[in-house]
């Protein structure tokens, strides 16, 4: 089952990437679509970040624990440096030291 889901997901991913130069359809997006699509990464990634930071292993919301603290410090580094690697090092480092 997982193989079928994986292959269908992969095909769907490819279809989206290929869609605008497939030659099968108009190759420009309407302005409204472009406007809304710009918020896809922000919305999706924020949702994943929030659940990783604020949900404990039981799935309950925690607003203050070591994970939240490590995330907050890493957030400052992320904004200041825009660097993936420094953000990872900071966040994991804080978690290892205080966790």
């Amino acid at each position: 089952m997982i193989w079928i889901v994986m292959i269908l997901t992969g095909l769907a991913n490819f279809a989206v990437r290929f869609s605008m130069f497939s030659g099968l359809r108009a190759s420009t997006l309407p302005d409204w679509a472009e406007r809304y699509l710009r918020y896809v990464p922000t919305a999706v990634l924020s949702a994943i970040i929030a659940t990783a930071l604020f949900l404990d292993e039981a799935g309950d919301i925690q607003i203050w624990n070591t994970t939240v603290l490590a995330g907050l410090i890493a957030a400052i580094i992320a904004i200041l440096t825009r660097s993936v690697i420094f953000t990872i090092i900071t966040g994991l480092g804080v978690l290892w030291i205080i966790g």
Binding site: R17, S19, T42, A43, I48, A52, L55, G71, L92
Partner: protein
């Protein structure tokens, strides 16, 4: 390949390499996480070429591990990947003249990082008829690094203790990508609303929280951006 094509291809590789500093750790963590989520080594490794998308693969593995239905796994990943339609549209005018084989290969290789690097080249090169070699070089570089990192992550996964919390590197990576770009009110509102829906939507059936969060965040961001542009 002629020497001009080759030069463009190598330039794509060179331009893409610095970004691998962020891609490789992510691939390593995905390899570790795939195994921790209960996928087999083969499933984890092949997912990196079949699905070929960082956030997609992480969400796929995590939802699958919680026993989410295939429909939810598929629709969650599909929402995440909608953004690629923007990239596809942006490169379409450069790629449309190419043969079907070229377009299929470049479509497959069109990831966030490959797009980010090669669109700059498309827009500034004085030889646009060669620029697809740049995308091929940058896309393949990312593809190779991603596959190697996944395999190493899978192999290392067995020896990495859970206490290291390596999975935390994934939200950290996303923070580095998202937070510096939250400039407008619409961006901040999209992020905040999606985060809140994700947290309070955990009670929703079928793990629908990720789709719900995406729909709400995109709608809030889009509507507010209308207002911003009018102001």
């Amino acid at each position: 390949m002629t020497s001009d094509n080759m030069r463009e291809f190598l330039r794509g590789i060179g331009d893409q390499l610095p970004l691998q500093l962020g891609v490789v750790p992510f691939g390593l963590v995905f390899g570790v996480l795939g195994i921790a989520s209960g996928l087999s080594p083969l499933q984890t490794i092949l997912m990196s070429s079949i699905v070929f998308g960082g956030a997609s693969q992480v969400v796929f593995a995590q939802l699958w591990a919680t026993g989410a239905s295939p429909l939810i796994v598929g629709s969650s990943v599909a929402v995440i990947n909608l953004r690629h339609m923007l990239y596809s549209a942006a490169v379409a005018k450069y790629l449309r003249p190419l043969s079907l084989r070229w377009r299929i290969i470049l479509g497959y290789l069109l990831t966030d990082e490959a797009f980010a690097i090669s669109i700059k080249r498309f827009e500034t090169t004085d030889r646009p008829e060669l620029a697809h070699y740049h995308l091929l070089g940058s896309g393949l570089t990312l593809w190779v690094c991603w596959q190697i990192a996944t395999v190493v992550g899978v192999l290392a996964g067995a020896t990495i203790p859970d206490e290291l919390n390596l999975g935390f590197a994934i939200p950290l990576t996303f923070m580095a990508l998202v937070l510096p770009n939250l400039r407008r009110v619409s961006d901040i509102a999209a992020a905040t609303s999606a985060a809140l829906v994700a947290l309070f939507g955990q009670v929703l059936p079928w793990n629908a929280w990720i789709v719900a969060a995406a729909v709400v965040g995109i709608t809030v961001g889009g509507i507010l951006s209308h207002l911003e542009d009018r102001a």
